[in-house]
Symmetry: C2
Subunit: 455 residues, 2 copies
Amino acid sequence: MRKILLIGAGRSSSSLITYLLQKSFSENLHITIGDVSLELAKSILQNHKNGTAIALDIFNDEERQQAIKNSDIVISMLPAHLHLNVAKDCLNFGKSMVTASYISNEMKALNEEAIKKNLIFMNEIGLDPGIDHMSAMKVLDNIRDKGGKMLLFESFTGGLVAPECDDNLWNYKFTWNPRNVVLAGQGGAAKFLQEGKYKYIPYQKLFRRTEILTIDGYGKFEGYANRDSLKYKSIYGLDNILTLYRGTIRRVGYSRAWNIFVQLGMTDDSYTIEDSEQMSYRDFTNSFLAYNPNDSVELKLRHYLKIDQDDIIWEKLLELDIFNSTKKVKLANATPAQILEKILKDSWTLKEDDKDMIVMQHLFGYELNGEKHQIESSMVCIGDNQTYTAMAKTVGLPVAIATLKILNGEITTPGVQIPITKEVYKPILKELEENGIIFKEKNVPYFGYNPDIII
Amino acid sequence: MRKILLIGAGRSSSSLITYLLQKSFSENLHITIGDVSLELAKSILQNHKNGTAIALDIFNDEERQQAIKNSDIVISMLPAHLHLNVAKDCLNFGKSMVTASYISNEMKALNEEAIKKNLIFMNEIGLDPGIDHMSAMKVLDNIRDKGGKMLLFESFTGGLVAPECDDNLWNYKFTWNPRNVVLAGQGGAAKFLQEGKYKYIPYQKLFRRTEILTIDGYGKFEGYANRDSLKYKSIYGLDNILTLYRGTIRRVGYSRAWNIFVQLGMTDDSYTIEDSEQMSYRDFTNSFLAYNPNDSVELKLRHYLKIDQDDIIWEKLLELDIFNSTKKVKLANATPAQILEKILKDSWTLKEDDKDMIVMQHLFGYELNGEKHQIESSMVCIGDNQTYTAMAKTVGLPVAIATLKILNGEITTPGVQIPITKEVYKPILKELEENGIIFKEKNVPYFGYNPDIII
């Protein structure tokens, strides 16, 4: 039996574990799941004959080292800042390692030693980062192998609710960490490249500078800019590209409505609201509006943010009940962002039968033999249920597949890396396809920067 | 001769020094000016017979202690964070001390020992903080002495250009640190009280929630909220007040136009712009607008921020030359805020003959014998020239007057304090009046919160 150690049995490991347990018979695998909660690890394994659950406190050096020593390869699904001790043990005991997290500088620093010991430390091999790297590099390498010159690369990802469960006016429910959704876009201007020019969007305008995208069979979406559009410029080999943009996908109209919260100041997480516990949702809304003895909170807000009488934004706000004077916030010393999160959870929590959906689209503009071309590559993944969510599948499957391919010697180049080489992305994308995670590519007219698609 | 030591001979000490030197004959004073630059100290004294210039390095313990030991009272006009060593020496050698800076926690911690040694450490006795405390407390104490109950206190201060030198569309020039003007309002939501309700304004709306004020003989002004409206609530004895608001004064229309820079993201100081050195002003402006192959930077900006064809805002932007394609930024690795500051300095630097103006207004709403009343108290001070600016007079004179009154035993209560007691503010306000810094009080109808005065 080849022994795989999985550390951290959180929300996104369901598909990862199921994949490995299913393969355990044909591939001769034994899966050890180590989690701080033995209960959780056990409940996931459900007495599977090729699995063992162990209690593993990551801060206990002996426990951790023992478990790693006993394995042939290690998967760390811990929070990103906890990978390093695992990585150092893997170096010591000569084990390869796989994570879905952004590669840290400390992790990068282990590269030389990993190569020396012929170990693979594969990082950023979940969804985003992960599937985005692999699916983008596949098309980029194809274009460049043909002699094409890249002009434009735009890449969008989003976690949404599946169309059949999409029953609110925002066309959105929380499918991942709600706090991150409330704080999205904060912490600095979004920076990207458009036709050779650096462009900057401050937070207060981020949700008013969206781009529209269409995915066949799923209709229109919108994307707002990520802060880090230029992060993979050199890594993808796009140093001379004219347009480089990465964005987050929402359904059309979400951002324009979300901007109301930004403008009011409801997404601020830097100070606490007085008497937040006793406040009604209406009091909370009113605290961002000037006092007036005669006017309603509703009219003050409409006037302040210039919302027309028949604007759908208004219906979206009503749906969230932000003018309700009896619902209480019930959070002491809360920031505006924490209170908003609570209000949104009332409306945006997935129901028991709801399914989530992951959407990804890349646009590749390039020049070949003097002509300009564009390729659109799109992927949609819908969750099976609230255990095997689209998020769990798209994060967990590439991790699982990579682990097995490293174990089987199908991926062999050693070092601390991310999945951008053909050796890595080709076999993994192929097997993701077999598991229903499929990118559809098509040629479209070259847009370059097309002002018509900007709202 | 009584010996006064002034440490730090910066921009705001001209009126302070002149006042003390003029008094030196009748009051039998000797003024020692210690500055890191002996040249500067000498040039200010101009061989006055009752003055001595010394080179004083504040970080040299021996030099500093020697100078303090040799004096009867010490004025520190150093940056706020450098007062503490001076204060500790003053405690050791038994000298009282005066500063115009905000009182720090470290300074407060010296209170008990100062009282024990019968020393006065007077802080926050410049303009703002300083004259604002004294002029407010005078009216507040009057109202309360009559048995009035405070309902509303609003206080506004601004440094502007004098009306006779006001020759640009913004009705504004830099009269103090330009960087602070560009960064004004950043760092957290403005918080205040309106009719018993806490209100919050995020940065992105700060310049769209101004209040209008009128000062007899000087016309209309506007105020935008300071972050710290509640800072002196308890100190002024206003714990049960319904409305408490502190603001910064500009000429009407400034804030609505300034909001354009906020919305574009030009006031951001948290990241640097690529290739800033080579950029034209036009390139800088364009970096905050979407790329478009057909439209001008001008039309893109007008459309993005919905500026009407005949809106005076547009003329204000043109006046600053932000669309100029030949003027270069010439600042390497500059933040947007640094570049904006540079652009503004081209237009907003005081000319040689320009004078500045300080404007302050307080509104006091109160109830007495079942009736509501309101008092408006306003002060305008215009600079003589670029040495004896309104800023130097209003910051320096209260410091000088307080120093002399402490030295003369007219102010006697010991301890680390700010000028909010009758013993302190009465004689100082009186002498400020004799020096042309005069508050005019008048009774006006009680407004409470009057929506008609909000724009």
